[in-house]
Structure formats: C-alpha cells, structure tokens
Amino acid sequence: MTLRNRNSHDLPLALTVLLGLLSVFGLSHWIDSHRPAADPNVEEERLYLTSNTAKRMSLGFNGLAADWYWIRSLQYVGRKLINHPDEVQLDDLGPLNLKLLAPLLDTATTLDPDFMEPYEYAAVVLPAVNVEDAIRITKKGIAANPRAWRLYQHLGYIYWQQQDFKAAGETYSQGAKLPGAPSWMEAMKARMALEGGSRSTAREIYLRMYEQAGDNRVREMAQRRLMQLDSLEERDALRAVLKAYQTRTFRCPSSWREIEGPLRAMRVPVNAFGSPVDPAGTPYLLVKESCNVDLDRNSKVPYQ
C-alpha cells in the first residue's frame, strides 16, 4: 500500500473519530439539558449499606471510607443549602429535609469511631432534623471515646437546646470530671440549674463552642449566635430609649437622629447617619407604626 493510498484510507477513519466525538459532546449536552427532574423521594433513598456492613466491607480502608462519608455528608448539606432560597443557620436546617444526614454521619463514625468532627456536626446540625439521632450519635461517640470531654460538651448543648436543663447540667458535670476538661464545664452544671434558659447561659454556651469548635462552619455559626445575643440586648436598650422618648413627647421619633444623644449616651454603636448599627454593622430599622426597633433582614445577624 502506497503512502497516498494509506492516507486516503485513514481520512474517513479520522473523520469518523472527529465527528463521533462532536456527536458525543452534542448528545451529552442535550441529554443533560433535557434530563427529567429527579424525584426527591428516589434521590433521598436510604443508604445501600448500613454502617456496620460498610465497616466490614472496608477491608482495612475504614479510615478512608469514613472520610468519604464525611465529605459526602458535607456535600449533601451544602447542596441542600445552595438549592434553598432563604438563608438558614447551621443549627436550624430543619426546613432542608436532611433525611440522609444522620445515616451518613452514623456511618462515618462507625467506620472511624475516633473521628470527632462528625460528632460535632451531628450535635450542631442534627437536633433541628432529628434530635433522637443527634443524641444517639453523640452517645455512641462517648461510648467509643469515654475520655473525650468535648463530646459531653456537644451532648450538653443538645439537651440545652431541647430545654432539658437538668440533663444538660448532668452531662456537663460528667464531662467536667474527665482529665483535661476545662473548669467552666463544672460551672455549667450550676448555671443550668439556676438560669438554664437565660441569655447569659446561651452566651456562655456559644462562646465556649466558638472557642472549642474544630469546624469553621460551627465556629461561624457560634459567632453569629453571639452576634444575635448582642443584638437582642441592643434592641432591648433601643426599645427603652424609644419608650422614654415616646413618654416624654407623646410621639415616636421620625428618625434615629432625633434620639442620637441618648443613643450615644448608652454607647450603642451609631453610623455616620446617626442610625444605630447591629453587631454585623447593618443599621437597625425604626418601625414608626409601633415605635419599635427591628433587625434588617439583609443583616448577617440571624433573625431567628
């Protein structure tokens, strides 16, 4: 076969390859754009493997499999967050219908019982989804790591959120007895008994969570909750100023500037326009109809 003959034979083949690849690209694009919407019930099917089966089948690669389940649970939550129209806090993801989160975290912690971050995530995120699962996974962590005081902190936090201050206090107290546990754990027991539902207790809990969190998103959530607590106190103070003004003048101020003096006296942060600003730097709204103060919905401070 001469070189020319061979070239003439190769050309159709090369064209077939090129056209075939172009067709594959076009078809893939078409299939992707015309894909029927996934049935959320099918998408949310239970995991194929139970956590114990996954552990048995991991053949010594259980740490890697645990990492995979951990990354999968983060992506599962992340995907739901992206598709959710409103901003939600990490500890208030109930509306996202996170049915698979508990089995994913359960599997990750069964595969690697020393892996602390999934327990922390379970304690913070799961109570809004299924509090029994949150308690079960955290207790499983305590059984596997009986000397890890931070797990008692997580469990105490879950009980506190459920307003079970007695159980929360006992859990903090048990954790306080472990070597390396900080002294505030013991103090928490008394605080829970005396003022479990108070803002100061909430501040203490979120402050400790902010200090101890291994996960940046948990730390960020704690920081936002601390901002929310600051904002609640600031709004109480602003309401008091508004009420005093109303009592004195029988009307509501038309703008924040009218009460700039008392605001500065109270050391409430004020912007260049004389409006008090929340801990995230967004001005508070003056609700003239009810002579009240409200949080701007665009603020980074959580509304609820």
Binding site: G60, F61, A66, D67, W70, D114, F115, R217
Partner: protein
C-alpha cells in the same frame, strides 16, 4: 560435613540468595513496577491541593488515610501481580534450567525471589511514606508531628505486604498466575475478615463446623492485626507489645509459607 564446611555452605547459600534477590529487584525495576510511585505522587499532590476545600478542615486526616490506603492498595497489587509471576516467568522463559544447572537449591531460589520482591516493596513503601510525610508538612504549613507518627503504621503495612507476597509465592509454586492472583486476592479479603471467622466458629451449633471455622481462622493470616491506618490518622501509635507480637506472628507465618512453598516446589518436575 564438618563445622567449617557447614559454615562455608551457609555463607555460600546466603550469597546465592542475595544474588537472586538482587536480580529479582532489578527485574521489577526493569518491568517499571516502581512507576506506580508516579501515580501515587500525582494522587497525593492533587489531594494535598484540593482536599482542603472538600473536607471541612480535615485535610491532615484525609492525607494520611488516603496516602496510607493507597500505599496498601498499590502494595497489594504489586505483591499479587508481581508475586504470582516470580516463579512462573522463570519457568516460561526456561531460565529456571540455567539457574538450577548451577549449585542453587530450589529453596534458595524461592527465598531469593521472595526477598527481591520484598526489597521492591520496601523501596515503594518508604518512598510513599516520605511522600505522605511531605504532603502533611505542606498542608500543615510547617512542622507536623503526624509526619513522624505515621511511620509505625507504614511498618505494619509493609509487614502485611510481606505476608501477602509470601502467599502469592506459595500459590505460584504450584498454580497458574491467574489462579494464583485470584487465590491471593481471596486470602487478602478473608484475612481482613478473620474476626468474623472466629465469631462464626463460636456461634456454630455443629462441632464440625465450629472446628472448620476455627481451623480456617488459625490457618489463614490475620491481616486485621496490621490495620493501623485509621488510628495513625489521629496521631495514635500502636501499643509496642501488640506491634511486636504482630511482627513476630508475620515472621512465623512467613517461615511456614516459604517452607511449604519450598516443599511443593522441590517436588515439581520441570521436564
């Protein structure tokens, strides 16, 4: 044979074994077995760069899990696919006749081949271990004690690979490479289910079944003894007594395997 003759024979035997081992190592290098290191480095580099964004701050743990698991997996493939060809290739190429025409015993041949592949695996495991340590230093942005604490786990992985290489050699001493590879892979899987075998033996109603599963438990290598990747990712070190007992178990088990392989290989007729 007097004492000095016995000593001379033994030192000659060691020389012959080391010559076969060196050749087996060279052959593995020529067969580009160590090219798997390139793939490993690519895997680890991409993990070190990209995993941080996916793992929620758990990149150190994931680097160790991924690195040591890849080390075990790549090692298992090398032990199985190179191990089963150690004897077969010499028979197929008929080079075995040239070797046995010299004063080389069949046992020396097997031990030399085995040690050659162990040397290949050692180079592989050490380079991979250094790679994991460097990746840890990179993701930590400085000194990280985990870079040193992973090494006992690396040692246990290597011991596990030594056992698997011995198993591959044993099967290849009487079977075809494909069947040997399959059987070795089964032993690797069952070796990780040893605890289940023991549990099964305990839960069986019939005495015969109980004895069967208990026998299998003791006969097959308990590879779960060498699983220390997950605790290593948390910076834990194995208990010295446990690690020492596991290593001793491996050497005893290897002595049994290589002796069995030699017994079988001695009876093979190459004509």
């Amino acid at each position: 044979m007097n004492h000095s003759e016995r000593l001379a024979f033994r030192s000659g035997s060691l020389l012959r074994i080391s010559a076969i081992a060196r050749n087996a190592f060279r052959e593995a290098v020529r067969d580009l077995v160590l090219y798997n290191l390139v793939l490993f480095v690519l895997l680890l580099t991409s993990a070190a760069i990209f995993i941080g964004a996916l793992s929620g701050g758990q990149e150190r743990k994931i680097i160790v899990d991924l690195g040591l698991s890849a080390m075990l997996l790549f090692g298992v493939f090398i032990a199985i696919f190179v191990g089963v060809g150690l004897v077969y290739k010499e028979l197929e190429r008929r080079t075995v006749y040239a070797i046995f025409a010299k004063p080389v015993g069949r046992g020396e041949f097997l031990v030399g081949k085995y040690l050659g592949l162990c040397l290949t695996l050692l180079v592989n495991v050490v380079v991979m271990g250094v790679g994991v340590s460097i990746a840890l230093l990179y993701v930590s942005g400085g000194w990280d004690p985990l870079a040193l604490r992973i090494w006992p786990a690396v040692l246990l992985i290597y011991v596990q690979l030594m056992i698997l290489t011995g198993i591959a050699l044993l099967f290849s001493s009487f079977s075809s490479p494909a069947l040997s590879a399959l059987l070795t892979f089964f032993v690797f899987i069952i070796g990780h289910f040893s605890a289940d075998l023991k549990g099964l033996a305990g839960s069986m109603g019939s005495t015969a079944a109980r004895w069967l599963f208990a026998g299998l438990y003791y006969l097959l290598p308990n590879l779960a003894n060498y699983n220390f990747i997950t605790p290593a990712a948390h910076g834990q070190l194995p208990a010295a007594t446990h690690a020492a007992a596991a290593i001793l178990y491996a050497f005893v088990y290897l002595a049994v395997i290589i002796a069995t392989a030699t017994l079988i290989f001695r009876r093979r007729n190459f004509k």
